[in-house]
Amino acid sequence: MAPLSERIVEYLPLLISGLWLTVAVTFLSLILATALGLLWATMRTSGNALIERPARYIVEFLRGIPILVVLFYIYFVMPELGVDLSAFQAGVIGLALTYSCYIGETFRGGIEAVDKGQVEAAKSIGMRHGKMMRRIVLPQAFRISLPPYGNNMVMLLKDSSQVSVISVAELTLQGKMLASSTFDNLTVFSMVAVLYLCLTIPLNFLMRRLELRMGASL
C-alpha cells in the first residue's frame, strides 16, 4: 500500500467534492426549513384556530415520520404521482420538510417566551398583529431561539448524510464508495469524520459568538 500521505492526497479530491454537495444540501434545506419553520410558528401563534390547526397537524404529521421514509417517499413515490425530482432536489425537500418542524417548534418556543408586556406595549401604541410580530415579537423571539436554532443547524448538517440513501453523492456516500473500492476503510472514514468536524466545529464556534453578541444588547 502507498504511504498514508499519498493515499490522503489521492482520496481528498473525491471527498472534497462530496463535502461541497453536503454543504449545498445543508445550506439549501436550511433556508427552506427556516422559511417553512417561520411559517409554522407564526401560524401556530396567530391566535386564530383556523390558521393554527392546519399548522399543528402538518407539524405533528411530519414529525411522526422518520427522515428516511420522507426521503424515499419524495424520491420514489412523487414520480409516480407525476412529479419528477432529481435526487438532489428530493433530498433538499425531504430534509427541509422534516427540519421545518423542529425549527418551527424552536421559533414557537421563542415567540411564546417573549414577555407578554412587549405585546401589550406594542398594542398600546396602536400596532396591528402583523407589524407587531415583525417589529417587536420576532426580533426578540429570534434571540431567544438562537441557541436551539444553532443546534438544529448542526443536526441538519449531520443528518444531510441521510440523503445518501437516495444516491446523492455527498460526503458520506463518497466515503462509502471510496472505501469499498480501495478497502482502506480506516483512512477513508477517518477523513470523512474529520471533514464533518471541519464544518461542525466552526459552526458551533460561530453560533456561540453570535449568542454572546446578541445577549449583550438585551
Binding site: D115, G117, Q118, E120, A121, A122, K123, S124, I125, G126, M127, R128, K131, R135, I136, P139, Q140, R143, S217, L218
Partner: protein, 243 residues
C-alpha cells in the same frame, strides 16, 4: 373625554368590575386608588382594549371602545399607556423606542419624528441617553423613556398603571416630577397610584375602587382628606401609615 357607563367585566365566572360609572374630563387628572385586587388595572386596561368587558359602555371622545373591533387600533393611538414595568422594547435604543409609534404606526416622516422624539426625551431629562438601550438605564430612566414614548404619539389622554411602584424609592421623585409637569400642561391622565401625596397635588378627581365598585368619588380634597366611606378611610390609613 373618557366615560364609563355601568361597566361590568368578568374573568370566567369571577366578576371583577361590577358596574363602573365615571368620567375623566379633558385636561384633568383623575387618580384611581384602591386595595390590591380591587380591579384598578383591569378598569384601566379596558379603556384601550387590552381587556374586553361584557356589559356597559366605555367611551373615548364619544367613540365606543370595543376591544374586538377594528376601531380599537385608532383609539389606542389616541389613548397612550404607561405600564408599571415600563415594557420598553429591549432591542431598540431609547430614541428608537420613542420613534416606533409615530414612525411605524402613524407613518409620519422620519426626520420630523426623530426631532420630536429627541425633544420628548429632553423634556423628561434624558437628552444624554437617547442612544442607550433599556438594559443600560435605571428603572426611573426607563419609566421616563416610556412616558416619552407615550407622549410621542401626541395622545389625547394617557393611562398610567402604577407608574412608580416598580421603582426604587430614590427614583420615584424623578418620574413624579415629569407627571406633575404634564398635569400642569393639562394633559388628560387617568392614573392608578398609591402615591397619595402626589394624588393630592395633581388630581382633579379621585376614584376609590373597592371590590369592583366605585365606593367613593370626588375632588382630591373630598376623597383623600375628608373621606366619607369607612372603607376609604380604612384604606387611606393603611397606605399613609404603613405598618
Amino acid at each position: 373625554m373618557i366615560r364609563f357607563e355601568n361597566v361590568h367585566k368578568s374573568f370566567g365566572h369571577i366578576e371583577v368590575l361590577k358596574g363602573i360609572d365615571g368620567e375623566v374630563e379633558k385636561g384633568q387628572v383623575a387618580c384611581l386608588i384602591g386595595a390590591s385586587g380591587s380591579g384598578k388595572s383591569t378598569l384601566l386596561r379596558c379603556v384601550n382594549g387590552l381587556e374586553d368587558y361584557q356589559q356597559g359602555r366605555i367611551l373615548v371622545d364619544d367613540q365606543l371602545v370595543d376591544a374586538h373591533a377594528a376601531s380599537i387600533h385608532d383609539i389606542r393611538t389616541r389613548v397612550a399607556m404607561v405600564f408599571q414595568r415600563f415594557n420598553l422594547f429591549p432591542h431598540m435604543t431609547a430614541l428608537e423606542n420613542v420613534m416606533e409609534g409615530p414612525l411605524h404606526v402613524l407613518g409620519e416622516p422620519r426626520a420630523e419624528v426623530r426631532e420630536r422624539a429627541e425633544e420628548h426625551l429632553t423634556r423628561v431629562g434624558l437628552a444624554d441617553r437617547v442612544n442607550s438601550y433599556p438594559s443600560a438605564l435605571s428603572g426611573g430612566q426607563q419609566q421616563r423613556v416610556a412616558i416619552a414614548r407615550a407622549l410621542a404619539m401626541r395622545p389625547d389622554a394617557i393611562l398610567l398603571d402604577e407608574p412608580t411602584s416598580a421603582l426604587d424609592p430614590e427614583m420615584v421623585g424623578e418620574v413624579l416630577t415629569v407627571l406633575r409637569d404634564l398635569a400642569e400642561e393639562r394633559m388628560t391622565m387617568l392614573v392608578v397610584t398609591h402615591e397619595i401625596q402626589f394624588a393630592r397635588e395633581v388630581a382633579s378627581s379621585v376614584f376609590f375602587l373597592d371590590k369592583g365598585l366605585i365606593a367613593e368619588h370626588g375632588s382630591a380634597e373630598e376623597v383623600l382628606t375628608r373621606p366619607q366611606n369607612a372603607r376609604t378611610q380604612d384604606f387611606l390609613r393603611r397606605v399613609t401609615h404603613p405598618v
